[in-house]
């Protein structure tokens, strides 16, 4: 099998899996007062320190959560609520058109249910945000903005955003800046303090940790109203019994991913560049999407003119090649990517797209398998797409 979908989820690192199993064998609730509880709490706090140390945060800024979607919801809704509570006039959220649905839909929910107004920042044809657009937005509405949220790197087309510049513009106006760094950690250098962000989302399963555990890095001076209420764990911001084994494994994975980032990025980017070059040779009319330079090392994203992405996926899947078309609705119908549409692609081009993402287990043999299967798949998908014309 050629697994070219590491941005969806990547295999767990051996050391993370071993840490998980070892910890899961031990009993103990990190909130309990007895010895077993203390042991669990020690593991959690050591993990918090490890995560903080490699991501440029203070341990007290690390809030463990149930993963990326929860962290994004906590940041967007929690900071919005807290800022509005402090100043009733702050009801505007500034976000980008290319966010993951965990941010996009949380922002939409605030607009639909909490009376939020939204300033959507556009992107250019490569999917990049322009800090000057944010500056103009904040110059016009700064007083009323509750928060700015913009992703560090895009999950579909792999474009890396000028996060430090965006955060600095937000800071000029005293507005908290949240960034969804789910695709960035372990792929590009990520330092919370240096970035100037007030809040940062990271999740385990994109970097070799377990699914269902992540963190929100939240600066001490930024208040967030809880989404989950209960036992008051995690600074009272995120209640719920701590997942000791998951947190330990998450910390192991974050540490390994961040420490190995440079070497990883060099190796994977070289393989990715080879993939891109060979796809271009095999299918000359292919369109390469996203920023060619400011880009995640493992991401290759293409539009195949005249094809439908879901037909290509089916054909490649049948050859043992796993890739992704972007998002599907709840019924499973492939949707044209909002990211590509925001980048100015038309509906057909958006529907003709496929994402290949490499990761820590990727090999040249997997790229070989893709290149062997791709030309025939493209030809067949084209024939199928031609049938769409009404008869």
């Amino acid at each position: 099998m050629a697994y070219l979908d590491h941005a969806a989820t990547t295999p767990m690192l051996d050391e993370a899996l071993e840490a998980y199993v070892a910890t899961a064998r031990e009993v103990g609730n990190a909130s309990s007062l007895h010895a077993a509880g203390r042991r669990a709490r020690r593991r959690v706090e050591e993990s918090r320190e490890r995560v903080a140390a490699v991501l440029g945060a203070r341990p007290s800024e690390v809030i463990f959560t149930g993963g990326g979607t929860e962290s994004d919801n906590l940041a967007v809704k929690g900071i919005f609520w807290a800022r509005r509570t402090a100043h009733a006039g702050r009801t505007r959220v500034v976000s980008s058109a290319v966010e993951h649905h965990a941010v996009l839909d949380a922002v939409d929910w605030l607009a639909g249910h909490e009376g939020a107004e939204v300033g959507w920042l556009p992107v250019d044809a490569a999917g990049r945000l322009d800090p000057e657009r944010l500056r103009a937005e904040l110059a016009a509405h700064g007083e009323r903005v509750a928060l700015v949220t913009a992703m560090w790197a895009n999950n579909e087309v792999g474009t890396v955003q000028p996060v430090a510049e965006l955060a600095s513009v937000a800071a000029e106006h005293g507005v908290p800046f949240h960034t969804d760094a789910i695709q960035a950690v372990g792929q590009v250098p990520v330092d919370f303090a240096a970035s100037g962000a007030s809040a940062l989302t990271v999740t385990g399963h994109k970097l070799g940790g377990p699914t269902g555990v992540g963190a929100l890095l939240l600066a001490r001076d930024v208040a967030a109203t809880p989404v989950l209420h209960g036992g008051g764990q995690e600074r009272d911001v995120r209640s719920g019994t701590l997942d000791t084994a998951g947190i330990v494994a998450f910390a192991v994975a974050v540490e390994a991913a961040v420490k190995g980032q440079q070497e990883y990025a060099a190796r994977v980017a070289a393989l990715r560049d080879e993939l891109v070059e060979r796809v271009r040779q095999a299918v000359p009319e292919v369109i390469f999407n996203g920023d060619p330079v400011e880009r995640l090392p493992g991401n290759a994203h293409f539009s195949f003119p005249g094809c439908e992405g879901d037909a290509l996926l089916l054909l490649l899947d049948a050859q043992g090649i796993a890739c992704s078309t972007g998002s599907a609705c709840s019924a499973g119908v492939a949707q044209p990517s909002h990211v590509l549409l925001a980048m100015g692609a038309d509906d057909d081009r958006a529907r003709s797209s496929l994402r290949f993402t490499l990761g820590h287990t990727s090999t040249r043999a997997e790229v070989d398998a893709l290149i062997a299967a791709l030309p025939a798949a493209v030809e067949r998908a084209r024939r199928a797409a031609a049938l769409r014309t009404p008869r």
Binding site: D310, A311, L313, L314, L315, D317, A318, A328, C329, S330, A331, G332, V333, A334, R380, A381, R383, A384, A386, L387, P390
Partner: protein, 357 residues
């Protein structure tokens, strides 16, 4: 063979896919998303078209260990089936949307796409037999037989179709689903029209065609005996819901005899006036052997689950003509006439055409 199993989320298509796997085919499951806005179909599993059905189909595919995808055919379905359904009623005819869906979607849009993608055939859970002789036959389960809505398929379409359930009764299919661990074993059958979620066909048509008040006329006297809000709300042979102002002089019940869209008139009359001995039909398909040069003695069925009547059928330049051996009531334009040859191994579909009068 590489085959594509159309999986509605119901028990029949799940077992059909399972049998295709067992027969040694390389099977890929596909659920057809037919609703333009899936959100509107979120309530209640009715056998097809809902979100639950998409999940049920996926779950069955997972149990069978076959790849599974959802294909979006909403636009094609709306153009070829839903819009056609509304237009047919507006034209005073009584369409069969399941038949149209087979003709235009399952064995056309889906089959064509499947072939283009390298598949050899489409597998469905229809209750009908299609053996190595290439002849389409009734299912052994006559109560569930769906050969009527498949009779519209051409030779080329049948050659790329597989119906694994034709030799089984519905009860056997359900028992097999349970044995195979398919969760849909006890799922209720789908009945009504899948795109009319609440079953209110009149309301559905009224929403799209608007109110069009007109007269209900007695065929014998020519007198206006009532009014209606849209001729499209009536079907030939219909007795209930006529809202006539006065009873017939003879006191006997009256039925819809015909619908005339041009004058927006619904004509009613006694039961015997419904009787028809000759049927004309257009767009004939003949798959039960060579296209006949002369008249063929056979049986015909004139609506889904309708009675079967001995008849002489002939094809000519205008279409198909059936001479019925005994009169039949309630023959509606827009329905199909399907010709069968009685056969102990399952009555054979000879051909079909769309009734014009």
């Amino acid at each position: 063979m590489r085959v594509l199993a159309a999986m509605s989320g119901g028990v029949d298509s799940a077992v059909a896919a399972a049998r295709a796997v067992e027969a040694g085919h390389d099977v890929t499951g596909v659920h057809l998303a037919l609703a333009r806005n899936p959100q509107t179909y979120r309530t209640g599993a009715r056998g097809c078209c809902t979100l639950e059905d998409s999940r049920d189909a996926r779950r069955a595919a997972d149990v069978l260990g076959i790849p599974f995808y959802v294909w979006d055919l909403a636009d094609r379905f709306h153009e070829d089936v839903v819009d056609d359904f509304v237009a047919e009623y507006a034209a005073g005819r009584t369409p069969n949307p399941c038949l149209r869906c087979n003709e235009k979607i399952k064995f056309a849009a889906v089959l064509d796409r499947a072939v283009a993608l390298g598949f050899d055939a489409v597998v469905t859970g229809h209750h009908a037999r299609l053996g190595p002789d290439g002849l389409l036959r009734r299912s052994v389960d006559l109560a569930k037989d769906q050969s009527y809505v498949l009779a519209v398929l051409t030779r080329a379409q049948l050659d790329r179709s597989i119906f694994p359930l034709g030799d089984s009764t519905k009860a056997e299919v359900r028992a097999e689903a349970a044995r195979r661990g398919l969760a849909v074993a006890d799922k209720p059958d789908s009945h009504d029209i899948c795109f009319i979620a609440d079953g209110d066909t009149r309301g559905f048509l009224a929403e799209r065609l608007g109110e069009a008040p007109g007269e209900v006329v007695d065929a014998l006297t020519g007198a206006v005996v009532g009014s209606h809000n849209g001729a499209y709300q009536y079907t030939v042979g219909q007795r209930r819901g006529l809202h006539l102002d006065r009873p017939a002089p003879d006191g006997r019940p009256r039925y819809v005899l015909s619908i005339t869209p041009k004058t927006n008139t619904v004509t009613v009359g006694p039961a015997e006036a419904l009787e028809v001995s000759q049927v004309r039909a257009t767009r004939p398909v003949w798959t039960g052997g060579e296209r006949p040069a002369g008249p063929v003695e056979c049986e015909v069925q004139l609506r889904a689950h309708g009675d079967v009547v001995p008849a002489t059928v002939s094809l000519d330049a205008d279409g198909l003509h059936a001479e019925l051996r005994r009169p039949v009531r309630g023959v509606a334009a827009g329905q199909a006439v399907v010709a069968y040859r009685p056969d102990p191994a399952g009555d054979v579909v000879l051909g079909s055409a769309t009734i014009t009068g």
